[in-house]
Amino acid sequence: MKQGIKVHAITLVITTAVFLLGVFLGMNFEQGKTSYVESHYDDLKRMVSNTELEFYFIQTLQSHMPCDYFVEESYDLTLEADRLAKKLDDYESNQGFNDPDWLSLKKDYTISLIKNWIFVEKIRRECSANYTTILYFYDSGCRSACEDLSFYLSYFKNRDKKLMVYALQSDLDMQIMELINGAYNVTEIPSIVVNGHDKFTNLSTRSEIESALCSSENALDFC
């Protein structure tokens, strides 16, 4: 009996210590993940600000618009935003302890993404760039329909790099999202806006989606 109590006591101490060590390591890992994604977000933010500043400089002080340069920048920005979006999605689905930190990061990312889209759209119009921008609206409650549309957009994006997709969570509690939702009258989810002016909803089949994407004035390879 006495040995039983002694063993239980020692076991309790060791088990709790090991368990707490695991929790501590886990929380540090979460913090590390947050820092890692934050640093990538900072890179993106810097890229966007840098490119916007370049554009402003050219517009204000220069006469010649280096369209080739800015079109290339658009592709780079969108690629970087895309990579960051994947990291955010992956980490969101594997969330551990610190949910509020991710939400804050996601909001910051959304602001950068929208700036990215505005810049890319501006270049597309001013330089007659031959890419197509898609604003894709989803929300946190949307499951199957959004997952399917997201899958289709990934598929078409992989088929033609000239398709630039910006996924926005419509129900994020942010003023800019309210503004954009209002500007495009986003009432149904999922929805897409092609090149900043044509809105499409109730897209469920491949042909419908393809048709919507191909309505762009710029020809995509798969159209």
Partner: protein, 417 residues
């Protein structure tokens, strides 16, 4: 907090506690761990071998019983339970040997307890050792365990069962499992918590059977007998040096059948021996903890394996939307796309704390039984085998919940695939 996450954390803590408890028991008693009492007396011994369709191993099994070193009277009772694969002919080869009594049944398959009890009734020895026909003795098995019976409180002794010549990945993982099991069983000794008298080589006093009944019609009659010994306040010991060898299932299907029987038997005996609940370390810790770890392992498997697997399956399933044109995805795939499959997050790091404790115990187990450990078998046991067992746990809980226990059901699980 997510309820699944909470269960996962509680499971991890429970399993950690369980492992650490026996690790601490080992550390406090390590001088005693490798010792079995030296025998001074050699009560007469009856070895009972029930046989049903084990032609590949029965010769080796019977021969090992004949060759078994024992300094007292010994008899070997082979009960052929109407085998149809040639086992009967092999048994006949031994019929004329002096030590052997061969009993042949015309009708078999009513459960292992039937040929066992036939053997018990024929037995003249004070001690009875049962031997499964797919297992065999080491020459010194009985010399290393008979010393325990000098304590009149000891009614049974279990041997150290090792896996014979593992070949497949599953058998390699089972090798580690069995060796780890030897370690645990020996530590159970210190709290009189051994509760299974396994078929391969388990030894029991005939007087206990005479007083408390023969082997019962139970899915796991060896566990039932072990718990009966505990129930009546006697001791069931585990010998580390009394080695027997067994052939383990090669593939998933046969392993599934075996473990389904074991786990279902555990659940039914757990409830069948409620009087043991709350008594000693067996009733307050080992029994309830084992019972808890089984279903909670399902949550663990779900969170760390099944859910990511289902997510991946759903992703792949969506390929039908694009007529399985996976080439655009394949051409743009990056290494980082595979990272989510690792499912590393803060909670999985907590679960990883199980790894060093388990590794320590496996290392000690191997040293105790003087076996060589290849990294592959430990890897298989620690990182793949738990999922196999958890899936079987799910099935056994479902089966046990739906099953009506009748006397005619158990034999169907005894007959091998």
């Amino acid at each position: 907090m997510n309820p699944l996450l909470l269960v996962n954390m509680v499971f991890t803590y429970s399993l950690l506690y369980f492992l650490v408890f026996w690790m601490v028991t080992y550390i406090l008693n390590r001088d005693e761990m490798l010792k079995d009492p030296a025998p001074k007396e050699f009560p007469s011994l009856s070895i009972i071998i029930p046989v049903r369709n084990e032609v590949s191993t029965i010769r080796k099994c019977i021969q090992s019983a004949v060759d078994l070193e024992y300094h007292g009277d010994k008899e070997v009772i082979v009960v052929d339970d109407a085998s149809t694969d040639g086992s009967s002919e092999v048994c006949q080869e031994f019929a004329d040997k002096e030590l052997i009594k061969l009993i042949t049944r015309d009708e078999g398959g009513q459960g292992k307890h039937v040929p066992l009890n036939i053997g018990v009734r024929e037995a003249e020895g004070e001690l009875i050792s049962t031997m499964d026909s797919d297992s065999w003795y080491d020459e010194k098995t009985m010399m290393n365990c008979v010393g325990y019976f000098e304590d009149p409180e000891v009614m049974g002794v279990r041997t150290s069962i090792k896996v014979a010549k593992p070949k497949t990945f599953l058998q390699l993982a089972q090798k580690v499992e069995y060796i780890f099991g030897l370690f645990l069983a020996k530590t159970f000794n210190f709290f009189n918590s051994v509760y299974v008298l396994p078929g391969p080589g388990g030894v029991i006093r005939k007087s206990f059977i005479d007083e408390h009944g023969e082997f019962r019609n139970n899915i796991t009659e060896d566990m039932e007998m072990g718990l009966r010994i505990q129930k009546h306040g006697y001791k069931l010991m585990s010998s580390i040096n009394a080695v027997t060898y067994t052939v383990t299932p090669r593939g998933f299907r046969s392993l599934f059948r075996q473990r389904l029987r074991w786990l279902t038997g555990f659940i039914e005996n757990f409830f069948g021996y409620r009087e043991l609940w709350g008594k000693g370390v067996l009733g307050t810790f080992l029994f309830p903890m084992t019972f808890w770890l089984m279903p909670s392992s399902i949550i663990f498997v779900w969170a760390s394996f099944l859910k990511p697997g289902i997510d991946l399956f759903r992703s792949l399933q969506r390929l039908h939307l694009v007529n399985y044109d996976f080439l655009p995805f394949l051409l743009n795939i990056r290494l980082a796309d595979f990272f989510p499959l690792l499912h590393i997050n803060s909670t999985s790091l907590v679960t990883l704390m199980l790894a060093p404790i388990s590794l320590f115990m496996i290392t000690v187990s191997y040293r105790m039984v003087k076996e060589k450990n290849s990294g592959l078998e430990t890897f298989l046991f620690m990182f793949l085998y738990p999922y196999v067992l958890a899936i079987i746990s799910i099935a056994s809980f479902c089966l046990s919940a739906r099953r009506r226990v009748t006397k005619n059901d158990s034999h169907k699980l005894w007959v091998k695939a």
